[in-house]
């Protein structure tokens, strides 16, 4: 039996929130503006609703498996073979997300701060950070997340308010410029796949109750979505649609135009710290998720022996794309698109339907209320 330890509501919330906002610091807000134009804010509103629904579905699924993880739940619902197959998809999804994160964060660091550092060195550094975090376990990662939240929040508040003098409210007009069906399509196809639902379902036994798990998850996904909405909205107001679409690192670009007089400038250094905090925790928890799924599939008493294997796999996968644009294309077309959605939304929904159906047949009983 793997002992994940116990985390409180605030720690769980912080962990899931940081995991959710990791994308905001990469090119995802620019993609959202490209897809939604002046209605990018509406696109994100739709994304928030879909992701909340996604989490709610997983919470409903886990309602009858309150002291187990989604790995045991899928095995009980679908049986050992099909259940294991589904769980392998979950594990592979975490590994793919981790590989993409490693590559995109490393490339982003090269682009913004360390242009002459070899990518392999950066990936190794981030990987070592993730391994050490995972080695110390969930409690340590969650507590670091909890401690980081005030700094991240303060940094983001400063960032968002400091760029307001550059904002032009006219940039969000024409207000209702994009066909709602098209908007809905983009929201589903490009923005709605999140790992936080699966992650929370893996951490359920550590949460200290299903209600805590559901409340922390919904709040984290909602807050993360809200932050995403604010960033996209401010990005559109400050740079306009055309310029916002061009950015590789939109939040970094936002931080570079902050200027209060001659002395309060070059805020990107503060932003880089926040970015590093979020990135490290996001990667640590994703790697932890991948290992936990695999350890539970193989019924290992500890996930730590798997760390080296999964990390090496993530490291190798992250170096496979020939360039950054290919890595981003993999992220937007696979990880965050329909294949990703099939795993994060489709499979849990399938499990829920089967669970309801089979429960009606009397085969699955909730053993741990």
């Amino acid at each position: 039996m793997i002992r994940e330890g116990k985390i409180g509501f605030a720690e769980g919330f912080a962990l899931l929130l940081i995991s959710n906002i990791g994308k905001v610091f990469l090119s995802v807000p620019s993609n959202a503006v490209e897809q939604g134009k002046t209605m990018a804010w509406a696109l994100i509103l739709i994304v928030i609703v879909i992701t909340l629904l996604e989490f709610w579905l997983i919470a409903e699924l886990m309602k009858n498996f309150r002291d187990r993880t989604i790995v045991e739940a899928s095995e009980r619902i679908l049986g050992p073979y099909l259940g294991t197959a589904v769980n392998l998809f979950f594990a592979f999804y975490f590994i793919a997300v981790m590989a993409v994160l490693l590559r995109s964060y490393s490339e982003a660091i090269i682009t913004s701060a360390l242009p002459r550092t070899p990518i392999s060195f950066l990936i190794i550094t981030l990987t070592v950070g993730s391994i050490v975090s995972c080695w110390y376990g969930l409690e340590s990662i969650a507590r670091v997340a909890r401690l980081s939240i005030p700094f991240i929040a303060l940094g983001l508040i400063i960032l968002c308010t400091a760029v307001l003098p550059e904002a032009d409210p006219n940039n969000i007009f024409p207000l209702f410029s994009v066909d709602p069906v098209e908007l809905f399509h983009h929201a589903i196809a490009r923005q709605s796949a999140i790992t936080e639902g699966l992650l929370a379902a893996l951490l359920l036994p550590a949460f200290g109750g299903w209600r805590h798990f559901r409340r922390a998850g919904l709040l984290a996904v909602g807050t993360g979505g809200g932050l995403f909405l604010i960033i996209v909205f401010i990005l559109t107001l400050v740079f306009g649609v055309q310029v916002s679409e061009e950015f590789m690192l939109p939040v970094y670009n936002l931080s570079r135009i902050i200027e209060f007089g001659r002395f309060f400038q070059r805020m990107e250094s503060v932003f880089l710290l926040i970015w590093a905090m979020v990135g490290t925790i996001k990667m640590a928890v994703t790697l932890y998720g991948a290992n936990l799924v695999l350890a539970r599939i193989f019924r290992l008493p500890d996930y730590r022996p798997l760390l080296w294997i999964t990390t090496l796999l993530c490291f190798s996968l992250s170096l496979l794309p020939a360039d950054l644009m290919t890595a981003l294309m993999i992220e937007s077309d696979i990880v965050r698109s329909y294949p990703g959605l099939a795993i994060t939304l489709g499979l849990p929904f399938f499990l829920l339907v089967v669970a309801k159906f089979r429960k009606a047949g009397g085969e699955i009983r909730d053993e741990a209320k």
Partner: protein, 413 residues
């Protein structure tokens, strides 16, 4: 076991200290040459001539023999692109040049008239180039301007460029724009971008230009009638049609432009005294609130109702007339408003006569009238602007009288 754990942790800490304290790209401050200004001109043998003003650290050294060393050096290089010139520059300097602290980028007039998109595209992708750096057009060549710009009040030319932002705000005669402003207008709007105009002083205006009329400052950079050692001048604006410079406006036109756009901060205005035409009244005014712009479609013609709000104080009343009295104050306000409305009308007519397009960025507000992105993308704004009926209304409120409550006339002899 415990001890080996401790050693392990210490080793990790030591390794972290070693590896986290530096990186492959680390450059010590004494290894780099800080470029504070970059000028672009048409090259004689190559497509481009880049002039860089490099800060000279020897001049700032407290000891070590700075002596009479020049605080900055100008170096010019010709090449096919900005970054090729940068590479060549690094081939003969002892330090690696960096644009991280560059305050301004200047385009020579000839190059600006050819189009600056290629060079702007070169700049914005580069990490060292900051979008909040100033972007100016130079009458004549940027190289000449940079060579002759010798600020007397500042040790560093970088500080002078930084202060130009403040000076543009207190005079309203110069048009301080940065890369972000220009690029956002160029990419997001259909209207015409503008940039600040700088030049080398010739000491006198072109024939026929004089500031005899109140409210007029008919000079562009290089033409201000003045004396003084530093030959650099900052006044007026360059007008662009997409990325090509197509014209320039003088000091008072620039002030009117900023007022109409809502970018105006504060300035002093001299008007003829309404009751004593041979005397003047000086007002110090600031933008009271954002301009109010409304659109109406009437019989197929777009009508633009533009209201500009100003407020401020009397700086001087030469005649001693009691304009502080609220009833008489209205006479001054009206005279000023009608004068500014005439200037605004003239500037709007000028943009149409010269086919400059909308330099006031009315399309920024007109986008509120549209209902789809395609409509906005395919908008023929130049034609709409040229045919639009624009009514500008100035509303000034003089709120304070300065340190004098009323002028009491002396005893008659």
């Amino acid at each position: 076991m415990k001890q080996s754990n401790l050693y392990g942790k210490l080793l990790v800490l030591l390794l972290l200290c070693t590896f986290a304290s530096g990186c492959w790209g680390a450059r010590e401050t004494d290894e780099v040459a800080l470029v504070v200004a970059v000028g672009f001109d048409k090259g004689k043998t190559e497509a481009l001539e880049v002039t860089a003003t490099v800060a000279n650290p020897r001049a700032f050294a407290i000891d070590g023999g700075g002596g009479n060393a020049k605080p900055f050096l100008n170096i010019s290089v010709e090449g096919p692109s900005i970054w090729e010139c940068y590479t060549i520059l690094n081939s003969f300097l002892s330090r690696e040049t960096t644009f991280s602290h560059t305050q301004v980028y200047l385009f020579g007039e000839e190059l600006a008239r050819q189009g600056i998109e290629d060079y702007l595209n070169d700049l914005i992708r580069q990490r060292e180039v900051r979008r909040d750096s100033g972007l100016y057009v130079c009458r004549g060549t940027a190289k000449e301007f940079m060579d002759k710009n010798k600020p007397l009040l500042e040790m560093s030319v970088a500080k002078q460029y930084q202060f130009m932002d403040r000076m543009a705000k207190v005079s309203g005669l110069f048009h301080n724009r940065n890369i972000h402003d220009y690029y956002s207008t160029y990419k997001n709007l259909h209207s015409s971008p503008t940039l600040g105009l700088v030049g080398v002083s010739r000491g006198k205006p072109e024939d026929g230009k004089q500031a005899a009329e109140p409210l007029r400052v008919p000079y562009v950079a290089g033409e201000v009638p003045r004396t003084g050692e530093n030959k650099a001048e900052y006044i007026g604006a360059a007008i662009f049609n997409r990325d090509k410079m197509v014209g320039e406006i003088n000091g008072d036109e620039n002030r009117t432009l900023m007022l109409l756009r809502g970018d105006f901060t504060v300035s002093s205005f001299t008007i003829r005294d309404p009751k004593h035409p041979n005397k003047t009244v000086v007002l110090r005014l600031r933008q009271g609130q954002r301009p109010d712009i409304k659109f109406k479609q009437e019989e197929g013609v777009l009508k633009i109702y533009h209201t500009v709000y100003l407020e401020g104080e009397f700086v001087s009343i030469q005649s001693g007339e009691h304009y502080e009295d609220p009833v008489k104050q209205k006479i001054v306000e009206d005279a000023f408003d009608r004068g500014m409305e005439e200037l605004a009308r003239e500037l709007i007519d000028k943009t149409r006569e010269k086919d400059w397009g909308d330099i006031f960025h009315y399309d920024r507000y007109y986008r509120r009238e549209l209902s789809s992105w395609e409509q906005w993308e395919n908008l023929n704004w130049q034609e709409i602007y040229n045919n639009a009926d624009i009514m500008v209304d100035f509303k000034t409120n003089i709120r304070r009288t300065g340190l004098v409550r009323k002028m009491v006339p002396p005893y008659k002899e």
